[in-house]
Point group: C2
């Protein structure tokens, strides 16, 4: 099934079930009002949502109406945990080489992960608000999963069983704020503003054999100002699968239902696939010519991130955002 959260003026929005082809939707009222409730009590609530989903897909849901992604919040508008990884080592290597930083050998065997802010996510069509273009505004197209409860010390295999939903993410990054933050030694704070997620989050059965070995074997499409800049394969070059990422995180703690785990920027060694973030394009330019020539995003720029099934149908809906200046009242 496919789940989304409609804006209703509240902090958590209204849970809706969306048809497989993303054409129609139906309020989940009577079953659950918020996605977190469902994740907290999955075994009881998800079969009821599944019944509604089937009725909707068969055109038999009584109060179905047209699905509009622009009315969506993030599937989880706020979450208790958002851990992002950097599971595509090609991305890490490119970006670090370009800034002359080391790539520790440990990254081959131990995933790079960091915790992000989960109190204020963006909907798929919400503006990327920034006070200044000088921050170096970049998109990062990623795959993300939402988990069930996963116990401390879970193995990678056990952790795979804890994946409930899959979605796309735009992990907006402020590149020019990163050097100073990383120099302090504790990772990102200001340089990772609010993250946006795709209109719908989907259960694994919706993905068919595109979900295999804890990876999503699909092409992640990124279009910047209407121009397709990335057609990156999300499956084969993900060095650590989602089960391995979750298991790494759970070595010393439990992960509770509704936690979101990100893959990091999807990245391919073969540069003909393009890029899922501008930093990689700039890294390639720097390594070739000694300096980057592609600028980061400007106010008014747009980014569209989407993944289609082999039948050409959009699986998660598209993230479609515009960079907008933050107006500060005098």
């Amino acid at each position: 099934m496919k789940l989304a959260t409609y804006k209703d003026g509240s902090r958590d929005g209204q849970l809706v079930v969306v048809s497989r082809d993303l054409s129609t939707t139906h309020y989940a009222t009577g079953i659950a009002s918020r996605l977190q409730q469902v994740l907290d009590d999955w075994n009881f609530m998800s079969p009821q949502l599944q019944d509604l989903s089937e009725a909707l897909n068969q055109g038999k849901a009584r109060h179905a109406f047209a699905f509009e992604p622009a009315r969506c919040m993030a599937p989880l508008p706020r979450a208790y945990q958002w851990v992002d990884a950097s599971a595509y080592l090609n991305h890490v290597e490119l970006v670090r080489k370009a800034r002359g930083a080391e790539v520790p050998a440990s990254l081959q065997t131990s995933p790079l992960m960091y915790q992000g802010g989960s109190d204020d996510f963006l909907g798929p069509c919400d503006d990327i608000l920034a006070a200044s273009e000088a921050f170096g505004i970049d998109f990062e197209a990623e795959i993300a999963v939402i988990t069930a409860d996963v116990s401390m010390r879970a193995s990678a295999e056990q952790a795979l069983d804890g994946i409930r939903l899959v979605m796309l993410a735009n992990d907006v990054s402020l590149r020019n704020l990163m050097p100073d933050e990383l120099a302090k030694g504790f990772g990102f704070v200001q340089s990772k503003p609010a993250t946006a997620f795709s209109p719908v989050a989907v259960t694994l059965d919706e993905l068919g054999d595109a979900w295999k070995g804890g990876r999503l074997h699909l092409t992640l499409q990124s279009s910047w100002n209407g121009r397709k800049v990335g057609m990156c394969e999300a499956g084969p070059e993900m060095n650590f699968h989602f089960g391995e990422l979750i298991s790494h995180f759970c070595k010393t703690r439990n992960l509770r239902a509704g936690s979101i785990i990100g893959s990091g920027t999807v990245s391919n060694k073969n540069a003909s696939h393009g890029y899922s973030c501008i930093a990689e394009k700039r890294a390639l330019e720097t390594m070739k010519d000694g300096a980057p020539k592609t600028a980061y995003m400007k106010f008014g720029d747009t980014i569209r991130i989407e993944a289609k099934g082999r039948d050409g149908v959009s699986l998660f809906g598209a993230i479609e955002q515009e960079v907008v200046p933050l107006l500060i009242e005098p």
Copy 2:
């Protein structure tokens, strides 16, 4: 007023109001069942809780009963944001010098902050579960605040107005896992397991003139295995006050109601105050003798963290935890 959350088998527990002297408590049923609800709608709900608090303090609340800290979850058992700082530079300098790491000059003017896991907090008397003593289990006694909504670009002064509640934290750290994680460049993940919080969170008016300039001017007491090891002054040496910490965090994003901000380990230059984490004691030993002689916590060790008002009454109740081995089923 003083608020706590009683265990009831659910993920979020039951909100209770606690008397000023921590002797009695009363369910907040009829007003709100969970603390996050109150933070989401503070202006409507907090006056009702305040009325109940006054009745309780006057011995007039009808269904009051004895307050038992051991029945408490963290005031917010799970939160949408947990950002910890390292606002006492003496702590940063000690720990970094001991491991031969640089202390960047930028730390004098720009606070060191990092995001932690907020999906699975520990109650004040919950065990610290660890799979191995070899992780280097340490306590960190801290002050923490819970915020209202704070807008992107809020000034330090504006951010101070967004502080709703104050509590204590034990930011458990696994010291021996840190070097490998920090070498990767993105901060902590495995080395910061679940954080514990004091039994009650209190509004600023309960603190009187101990709350001044965004700092808590009280002595934070830490007792390790029953021996008082820390009597650290939390006020004067906090290099960045809570408004400055929140404002720093909000430079590029909103902070939403129910976010928790930590001070970092409370630390004094004058070593006669003792220590709020073992790492500082070991750092002093290393600088003096070339090697630490105090070992980290062992299974069975206990830690008690508390702050008393000038009248000698415990303000937040005590964090009292034991380190317990995690048993893994075969």
